[in-house]
Symmetry: C2
Subunit: 200 residues, 2 copies
């Protein structure tokens, strides 16, 4: 069985593979502009069709999403925030969506270690899911009595749930977290959570 550090040690270094280092401000702004323009074009389309209620709903959705981005950035885990904010801008086998409640908490966890762990998790997931399928990973970050909880929920097509399960279980044993739990795995779903203790 390979440990997380062994896994991270082979092949391309984590930080390269995350591609976080290679994002420049101008590139990130270009992608963000592209996303925002898609939203604006959608609103424009609804208005031009006289569908004012749909336009208003689209606006509400954008506002909610922007609030989630703000919450993510308020966690004071900037590398982790960058990984999530930029994730969907690269060619990926799954789409990432997240929600962050209780953003005013400070988790007692290394930003860099959490980000590396998360990047390793995403890479693992990408190995065992079907390319071009409607794969989706939802991440909920919220505060529980035990600490800051990261709840992951994947839906899509898992090609090898047995091996994926083993590899995720291994990732869940990382000492970064106070507690972790696998909730369910099937050929189309995967749910698990990790909890980081809170800082004082």
């Amino acid at each position: 069985m390979t440990s997380l550090s062994e896994k991270l040690g082979k092949g391309i270094p984590v930080r390269m593979d995350m591609k976080n280092d290679t994002w420049t401000v101008v590139q990130a702004l270009r992608h963000a502009r592209h996303d925002w323009m898609n939203h604006i074009q959608l609103i424009k389309g609804y208005i031009s069709l006289g569908k004012i209620e749909e336009a208003e709903r689209a606006i509400e959705n954008i506002i909610i999403q922007a609030h989630q981005e703000s919450h993510l950035c308020n966690l004071r885990l900037p590398m982790f925030a960058e990984l999530l904010l930029t994730f969907n801008w690269e060619a990926r086998s799954f789409n990432l969506e997240y929600e962050v409640f209780n953003e005013e908490v400070k988790a007692h966890i290394s930003d860099e270690a959490l980000t590396s762990w998360c990047a390793a998790l995403f890479r693992t997931l990408e190995q065992y899911i079907k390319l071009y399928a409607d794969n989706h990973l939802y991440l909920l970050v919220d505060k529980t009595e035990e600490g800051l909880r990261f709840f992951f929920e994947f839906s899509g097509i898992i090609t090898d749930s047995k091996t994926l399960s083993q590899e995720v279980e291994e990732l869940l044993r990382d000492s970064l977290f106070q507690r972790s739990q696998m909730h369910l795995i099937s050929s189309g779903e995967l749910q698990f959570e990790v909890i980081a203790s809170l800082g004082s």
Copy 2:
């Protein structure tokens, strides 16, 4: 009387604690998000008041502005683009606006040198204009027969036009440019241009 666009367009100020050279991706995205959200709130405001034509006009303006940002980024002068894209996110004595035509040209100029020159120009300007006045700098980048032209037009309150004129004249003599020209300077206006030769 303040108009709706003035009320909604200005929005809440963001914390202005970042210097240009220290922008991280997450910080830049936060500022961009703030700007986009101001636009979205403006559109939302118009729609909720039943002012559909105004909403459509606001959308068109956003699209035009986003196109200008794209054009700027297409100049293949990434440092220069970053300076301009992030300029208004810091506490400044003037507001910067730009338009870029003919973005498909490649100027024969060092990105770094142009960016330093431009930053020095902005600093010089800030020294001789009135704080908190309605100061505005418009920059037009277009292609002329001679090369890539950067046309600057300032309007606002200049506190010492004589010294500013001398200092700008000195900046215009920089060997970076193929040609430069001071067009006019008064207590409320300043116009000049520099031209960089085109790459082959």
